[in-house]
Every structure is written in C-alpha cells, then in structure tokens.
Amino acid sequence: MGKEYLGEFEELILTMVAALQDDAYGAAITEEIETRLKREVNLSAVHVTLYRLEDKGLIKSSMGGGTNERGGRRKRIYTITSAGMATLKMMKETRLDLWKLVPQLKISGT
C-alpha cells in the first residue's frame, strides 16, 4: 500500500462514495459536492475520477435503476471496497498524526 496514495480530488470522491452509500453515482456526487462544499466541479472530472478509483480497486460499481428524471437512463452506483475503506482510514490517520505534530499554541496564540 505504501506507494499508493490519492490526490486531493480522488480522496474527496472516495469519501463521497463512502458517505452516500447506495446513492453514490456521478450526478449525485457532483450535486453533493456543489451544495456542501460550495465548489464547482465538472461532471466529466467526477466520472473520470470514479473510473480511475475503480481501476485502482478502491470502489466497485453496478448498474442501478433508471428514472424519468434521467430521461430513462440507468445510473451506475458505486460502493466502496474494503481496500478503499482501508486507504481512506489510513489517510485520515496519517493526517491526524501529522496534525498532532503541529504546535497548537502557535496557531491559537498571538
């Protein structure tokens, strides 16, 4: 796992997939990022990232149902794999470990 690490956007998408669970597909993830993070993202970027994460084995996908809202087109629902979960966790922990190294006083003081 050592060499495998994720980019910021990849990590964001992976987290979204984990969070949205059964409702994790391209448009929903985009919407969620836009409303929660107030960040403009392009649909194509999300899709490409999802495919890349799938290639890395961090998520897997299956076809879901189509709705009228989508002109009858089916969704591809993504779910996080255990490898994905492990990566996510590891990244969070490393982040926290590093965070602890930051002298807290310096930030809150002065």
Binding site: Y25, A27, L43, S44, H47, M63, N68
Partner: protein
C-alpha cells in the same frame, strides 16, 4: 417533479456528439447524469444557463479518460508501438548527432526561407483583393503613336473618355475618373500642413472602390465643388480627432494653397490599406476642377491627365469590349487629327495593376511581378534542395541501418511496421526542423522586413489568407514531409535479412545513381542561383554607379514656396533668395526647376520646326528650369549657349528661347547640334514660336530602366519650383548646419510657407528600391541554398569516407600517398559538381536575359560572370569536403584493418 417540456428543451446535439466518441459501456450512465444535472440547473439557474452548462459539460467529456475507457485492449498495442517508434526514432536522432543536426538544420533553413518568401509573396498577391468589385474593375490604358512609333504607353487620357465610353457601351456599369492633385498644402485653423497626397476624384469613386467609411455618405461625399474626403490619419492630423469621433470633422473647412475658397470635409474613410495599388491621404471632389467658365476637365479632348476605372456588368468579357475600342478611337480621334497622335485604348484588369504594370504616368503602387514569381521559384528550389538533402542523407545511411532492419525482420517485424517506423523518424525530424524554421523566422523577421521595406508578420499573413490557401500550404508541407520520408522508408525496409545479415550487403548502383542525380540537381540550382545573383548585383552596381550625364551628389532639395502668389516681383525675389543661399558657406550653387532629376516629365505632343509642314508632330518631354540649372547639375552644353537671366520673362507669353537635348535634335531631323542653333520651333497652342539657343548632352533624367528621351527646356521661374542646392562637399555635420541656415533664409523670404527639405540622391536612388530589394532577397536565398547544399555534401562525403575506410586502409598499406587518397575521395564529387555547374549556366543565362529585358540600359554579362560561379562552387564544395576527406585519408591503416 419533471415534465416533458423540460425534456424538449434539452439540446440534442451534445448527446449525439457524446454517443459518437463515448464507449458504449459507459455512455448510458453519463447521459443520465448529464440529463439529471440539466433538470436541476433549469430549476436553479434558468433554462439558458442550464443549456450552456449542459453543452459545456458534455463537451468536457471529450477527454482521454473517457474516450479510451474500456477500449484499452485495442489501444494497448497502438500506443505501445507508437511509443516504441518514438523511442527508436529519438534514439537514432540522438545517436547520430552530426547527421541529425545536418538534417534538421538543412531542412529548417529551407523551410524558414520558404516561410519568409511565402509571407512576402502572399502580401504582394493580396493587392486590391479587399475591393468587392475587383474582378469586374478595369483600368483604361492608352498608347499613343506618332509617325508610326509608340511615343507613350500610359494610364493617362482625356477626361471625355470615361463619360463617352459609358454612354456608348451599355456593358459598362459605372466608371470613375480621377486626377492626381499632388501634395496638399493646407491651412487648418491657422496651422499649415504639407505633404498629404491627394487626388481629384468624382462622386462614383467610392462605388468603384470599397474603402470603408468612418463618417459621411459614400454616394454624395464627392458630389459638390470644394468638398474633400479625408482618411482617418489625415483627419486626426488636421483636426486632432479624439475617441474616433470622426463625425465631428464633417462640415469643417480647410484652405488649400492660395485658394480663398474653403474646402468642406464631407466624409472620413479609413486609412488606405498597404496593399492597395491606389494610395491617398485625401480626395478632393472632381467637380472642383469644373466651373461654368473652365470646363476643360470635363470635356477636353486634348488635356490628358485623367485616370479612368471602369466597372463592367457581371458576365461581361472585357476582351470583347476592348475589341470595340479601335472603332471608338476612329470615331472620336480621327487618326491624329484631334490630339496630335493616334490613340489606342486597352483595358487592364485591376487585379493586375500592382504586379503587371509598366505604364508611364502611373499612380499605382507597382512592383515587378517577374521578381515576385522569381522569388517563388527560388523558394521552391530551396525547399526542394532541403528535402533532397534529407532523402539523400537518410538513404545514404542505408548500410548503418541495414543490419538493424535485417534483425528486426528476423524477429518478425513486418515491412509495413518498418515503413511506419522510418516514416515516424522522418516526421520527428521534420517536426524538429519546423521548430528550427519557426525560430529562424521569428528571429529574422525584423531584419527581413528591413530588407524588403515592408511590415510583414505571420499574424497579418494568416489573418488575410483564405482557407483554400491554408489548405494548399498544409497539404504541400504534409506531402513534402511524407514524400521525403517515403522513399528512404521503402528503400530501408526492403532489405532481405539473409543478404544483409550474411554481411554481403552492398549499396545498389541504382541507389547511387539516384543519389548522384540528386546532388547534381542541388548544385545545379545553387550554381544557377549564384550566376543569377552575380548578374543581378552587377546590374544593380552598374545602375547605381552609372554616369548619369549630370551630377546629383550632395544636392539639397528645398520644397517650393507654394503659398506665395506669383507677381511681377517674384523673379527678383527668387533671385535674391538664391543669391542669399549661395552666400552660405559650403553652398556651391543654387537653381530652381519645375521638375527634379528622377521625376517623370510631362510630354508635349505637337512640336515641330517652323519650316516643317504644319501636320508634322514630334513629342518631347519638357522641363522648366532657371538659368543656373545646367551649371548646378554639371550638364554639358554641346552647342550654342545656356540660358541667361535675360531669357526669363515676367510674362509667360514673352518667353521665346528653348534649349534641346541631342535626342530632341535628332528627332527633329537636324543632323548636327550646331545646325540646330538659331532655328525656330513651333510649340503649343496658337503656334507659338521659340528660338533654339542651345543644345545639351543627353542625361538620365530617370533611372537606367528608362531610355533617355528627347527633351525640351524652357527658361522658367515658378512658385511650384523646388530649389536644388549644390553643396561643396558631403559632410553630414556640416550639412545639418547648412540646412538650418537655409531654413532661416527660406523663412525670411517666404513667410507663411512650410519648410521641407530632402537629399536628391536618396530620392533618385529610390527608383531602384524594388531592384535593390530583389537583389538582396536573391542573394540571401542563394547563400541559404548554398549552405543547405553544402550541408548535404558534408553528410554525403563523410558517409562515403566511412564506407571506404577499409579500401583506403588497404590502399595506404600498398603505398598510396595522402594526395592519392584525397584525389580518390574527391574526384567523384568534383565530377558531379562540375556537371551541375555546366547544366546550370545555360539555364541561368536564359533566365537572366529575360530579367535584363526590363532595363533600358543593362550590363552585358561577360564570360567571367559565367566562369566565376563554376570556380566558386568548386571551391566551396572542395572546402566543405576537405575536412572529412583529409581526416579519412590520414587515418592509420592499422586502426581500420586490424579487425579483418
């Protein structure tokens, strides 16, 4: 939640586009997401923005991550092989650094030369193309014959021609007539402006020409008397127009010269494009020339200063119309009864006006079409030489690559794959060469612009190019790259592995023959170019150094005091002005004349001796000079005397003396200059008589491109005569001081006049501007062609030398001397180069004869000029080869033979 009307709003083409490039496996989900997002956007940001976002999002899916998704297994081989080709190509380029550098630079220089010339040529060919009616617009031209001889080949004619033709021939849609008004000299709000070029043009001018308007009305701008149209920059200069508010100028007035009548500005047009054959800073209405008392400008059959443009109705064959002109001439001119000469009229398509005009009294900005096409030929040759170099060098490396090819084949490479590999290599080298070429172009652009006296850039060229030109350009380039890549690719990939790997491989003699002919071709082109350049530069030197029959060196020209009225005291005033100038230290003498050396003179068509029958007509160019003219310009008198102060008369009618040149004496049929003195000539309306008081030697009033014509001089002072001031010596520092002194005196004598000066020699030499430019361009590109050819020769000779190292080793062991070896290695190439030069000379000779036809006075290329290129080429070729050859000849045979 959703409804069908929303679905109808959905633009369909992005989806179609998506399904075109998107792999089927993932198309559905993407479409779904896009549609869902669209509905949401419609609700949140409105339909318009939603549509925009939808299209943008869809287009953004056009990216490798999507397109190549799930087509991976297919693209795998391609990309891997491509990467392999690239790596191999790159390694080969890097491995043979010298070889690749020669290849890349040779091709780069060739391409750069082509790009630069292409810029220039496409600019020259773009003249007048902005005119909407260009393909239907024609200039009328006029040839005049007297005593069976052509005496004038011009664009000027009588003001009646346009209206009468338009009346007689229904195929003429409209016409315009104009007359050059010379330089403006106007007063605007107490300020004097000088030097803007103006024409008199009638109200139809702007229907014929499509110069865009910034203010005013196209059809009526030039209708009334005393109205003027200014160009943008003139409007800014005169009135300080700010913020492009050109309408503010309309209705303002200027005063021209001494005319008390105000000229009203009726319109402003945008500046005349550089690539217009007709140029002006302002137009004055043609109606200004016509008044109830003075209507010659409208109905004269003898005043010929007018230029005419016709627009024919669509579908008219101009040759058919032209064939009706002899009748027209007969009907209105009755032989030479009306105007004193037989008149012939022709039509010239306006698109030919810039490049294919050789007319006298032409206001068009002209250039030599011959020179432009010659440059195209040179560019094509340079490019061919470069490509040939490339083919030559690549195939000559066959032996090096043969083993590689053999091995690849053994390992299972297909011929098509090898071809691909070699093509890839040639494309890579071409790309590098392109980069080199573009760098060269960017670096040399400004010096190239200086050389051709233009302001070219790729931006300009591209923005004005139409799509078909771009297409041709791209396809020529691609074809060149592919063709130059194909031959080596096929040759190299066709080796049989068995022969090659057994070590029996020999270069085929067929390949050698081709290679040799290519070298011959290269050097033929180079030698022809050298010969051409030598002849061109000899002609240019001849013209620049020629004895003109007068001395134009160190002559300062001061413009005429045009804003001074002519009166009985004017001659005295100019006399004291001249006298005051002559007092300045460093000034030798001063004269005034109505024309300067280098100017085209006006012609008089009806001159004869008083004892000749009254229907005799002779044509001479005329000039009005003061009595110091011949002295100041060092023109020698053959018989009789120069003018004296007493020849000048306040009243024009009292002038009764003339001076002729030798050609004029000959034209009148007088056998001897001395016999001409005292004879009377009849000249002008009402049969005015003049006595010939002197005969001068012929001199080159115009450049050596023109013949010396019969000339007649009249003693003359005029408010329009500039002063020629001969300085004692050329001394730049001193001449500045002299100019300052001259200005003071000018201001004292002629207040209210703008002071303007120039040096005559510059002006006179400007006649050779085009020729000098051609000479420079040709020599630069000749040098480039030689460099490229030599690069090829270096590569080829080093290659042969390497091929023959073993042979040389054995020869040396058997006792060959260094000289033997050098001779052995050189003689092959020297033979080729010699053959090339022999082929080149007749080609160059024929081409240069054709070029020299354009000059009335020309050099006769001596035998030396044909021997020199041969020697030069041989020297250059031997020099380039010598390093490689001598190095090979000097290698120790033990080094080359020890592996045997």
């Amino acid at each position: 939640m959703n409804n069908d009307s929303d679905f109808d709003k959905l633009p369909r083409w992005p989806l179609r586009f998506l399904s075109w490039f998107c792999p089927v496996e993932i198309a559905e989900e993407i479409e779904g997401d896009l549609i869902q997002k669209f509905y949401r956007d419609v609700k949140n940001v409105g339909e318009k923005a939603a549509k925009r976002r939808f299209i943008w999002s869809a287009v953004r899916f056009f990216r490798p991550g999507i397109i190549l998704r799930n087509t991976f297994s297919y693209s795998l081989i391609n990309t891997i092989m491509l990467r392999n080709y690239f790596t191999i190509a790159f390694r080969n380029v890097v491995k043979n650094k010298v070889f690749s550098a020669i290849n890349i630079f040779g091709l780069g220089i060739g391409l750069a030369a082509c790009l630069l010339i292409f810029q220039f040529v496409s600019f020259e060919l773009s003249y007048d193309t902005f005119n909407e009616k260009l393909d239907r617009t024609y200039r009328i031209t006029n040839d005049r014959f007297q005593n069976g001889k052509l005496i004038q080949h011009g664009t000027i004619m009588y003001p009646t021609i346009g209206p009468v033709m338009a009346k007689d021939y229904p195929e003429i849609e409209t016409y315009t007539r104009l007359m050059p008004g010379g330089d403006l000299n106007v007063k605007v709000d107490e300020k004097i402006f000088k030097g803007e070029n103006a024409h008199f043009a009638d109200e139809r001018f702007f229907t014929v020409f499509s110069f865009p308007f910034l203010a005013g009305d196209r059809s009526s701008a030039l209708k009334d008397r005393y109205t003027m149209v200014l160009t943008e920059s003139t409007a800014i200069k005169y009135f300080g127009v700010a913020d492009k508010n050109y309408s503010s100028v309309i209705g303002k007035v200027v005063y021209w010269g001494l005319d008390p009548q105000p000229y009203k500005i009726t319109a402003v047009c945008s500046n005349i494009p550089e690539n217009s054959h007709i140029q002006f800073d302002a137009l004055v209405s043609y109606a200004t020339l016509i008044s109830p008392e003075e209507h010659d400008a409208d109905d004269s059959w003898t005043w010929s200063d007018m230029r005419h443009y016709l627009v024919l109705k669509p579908g008219t064959d101009y040759k058919a119309l032209e064939s009706k002109f002899p009748d027209f001439s007969k009907r209105y001119f009755q032989g030479d009864k009306v105007s004193g000469s037989v008149e012939k009229f022709y039509l010239q398509p306006m698109k030919d006006a810039h490049l294919y005009s050789d007319y006298e009294y032409d206001i068009a900005r002209t250039a030599s079409g011959k020179a432009v096409w010659a440059m195209v030929v040179v560019a094509v040759f340079v490019l061919l030489i470069a490509w040939i170099n490339y083919i030559n060098l690549t195939t000559s490396r066959a032996l090096d690559r043969a083993k590689e090819v053999g091995l690849r084949k053994v390992m299972g490479a297909l011929k098509s794959q090898l071809i691909k590999q070699f093509l890839f290599e040639s494309i890579l080298i071409s790309l590098f060469a392109f980069l080199v070429a573009i760098t060269i172009v960017l670096i040399s652009q400004s010096s190239f612009n200086d050389m051709i006296g233009g302001n070219l850039s790729w931006w300009k060229v591209f923005s004005e190019m139409n799509s078909s030109t771009i297409l041709i350009l791209i396809s020529v380039m691609t074809a060149g790259v592919l063709l130059s890549g194909f031959y080596p690719a096929f040759v190299l990939s066709s080796y049989q592995p068995v022969t090659v790997l057994k070590g029996k491989f020999q270069r085929s003699s067929r390949g050698q023959f081709l290679r040799k002919s290519l070298v011959v071709f290269q050097f033929t082109s180079s030698a022809a170019l050298i010969t051409g350049t030598l002849i061109v530069s000899k002609q240019l030197r001849f013209m620049n150094d020629a004895d003109l029959g007068m001395n134009i060196h160190n002559t300062l020209i001061v413009q005429a005091p045009e804003r001074t009225a002519w009166d009985s005291t004017f001659i005295d005033r100019v006399e004291s002005y001249k006298h005051a100038l002559a007092q300045i230290k460093g000034i030798a003498s001063v004269t005034t004349s109505n024309r300067l050396p280098g100017d085209r003179l006006g012609r008089s068509f009806g001159i004869r001796l008083s004892d000749q029958p009254s229907d005799a007509h002779f044509t001479m160019s005329n000039m009005g000079v003061d009595y110091n003219y011949f002295d100041t310009y060092g023109i020698s008198v053959v018989a009789g005397r120069k003018f004296l102060l007493t020849d000048h008369k306040v009243k024009f009618e009292d002038i009764n003396t003339v001076v002729l040149n030798l050609n004029a004496v000959k034209l009148l049929g007088i056998d001897n200059a001395t016999n001409a003195i005292g004879k009377e000539i009849v000249w002008g309306n009402g049969g005015r008589k003049y006595t010939i008081v002197g005969v001068i030697k012929d001199f080159h009033q115009e450049s050596l491109k023109n013949t010396m014509e019969p000339m007649i001089f009249r003693p003359n002072y005029s408010t329009y005569s500039p002063a020629s001031i001969k300085l004692e010596k050329s001394d730049i520092d001193n001449s500045k001081k002299i100019v300052a002194d001259v200005e003071k005196i000018f201001a004292k004598f002629f207040p209210d006049n703008a002071f303007d000066y120039s040096f005559l020699e510059d002006k006179y030499k400007r006649q050779y501007r085009d020729d000098n430019r051609f000479g420079k361009v040709i020599s630069v590109f000749t040098i480039l062609a030689i460099i490229i050819s030599c690069l090829g020769l270096v590569g080829l000779s080093s290659y042969t030398a390497v091929q023959r190292t073993k042979e040389i080793g054995i020869r040396k062991v058997l006792g060959a001397t260094l000289f033997n070896i050098v001779a052995l290695l050189s003689v092959d190439f020297i033979k080729l180069v010699l053959l090339a030069t022999l082929l080149a000379l007749p080609i160059a000779h024929i081409a240069m004869q054709y070029w020299l036809e354009g000059y009335a006075y020309k050099v006769v290329p001596g035998i030396l000029i044909y021997i020199m290129p041969v020697i030069l080429i041989l020297l250059i070729a031997s020099f380039t080869m010598s390093f490689q050859v001598i190095r090979t000849a000097m290698t120790n045979p033990s080094n080359t033979l020890k592996y045997e």
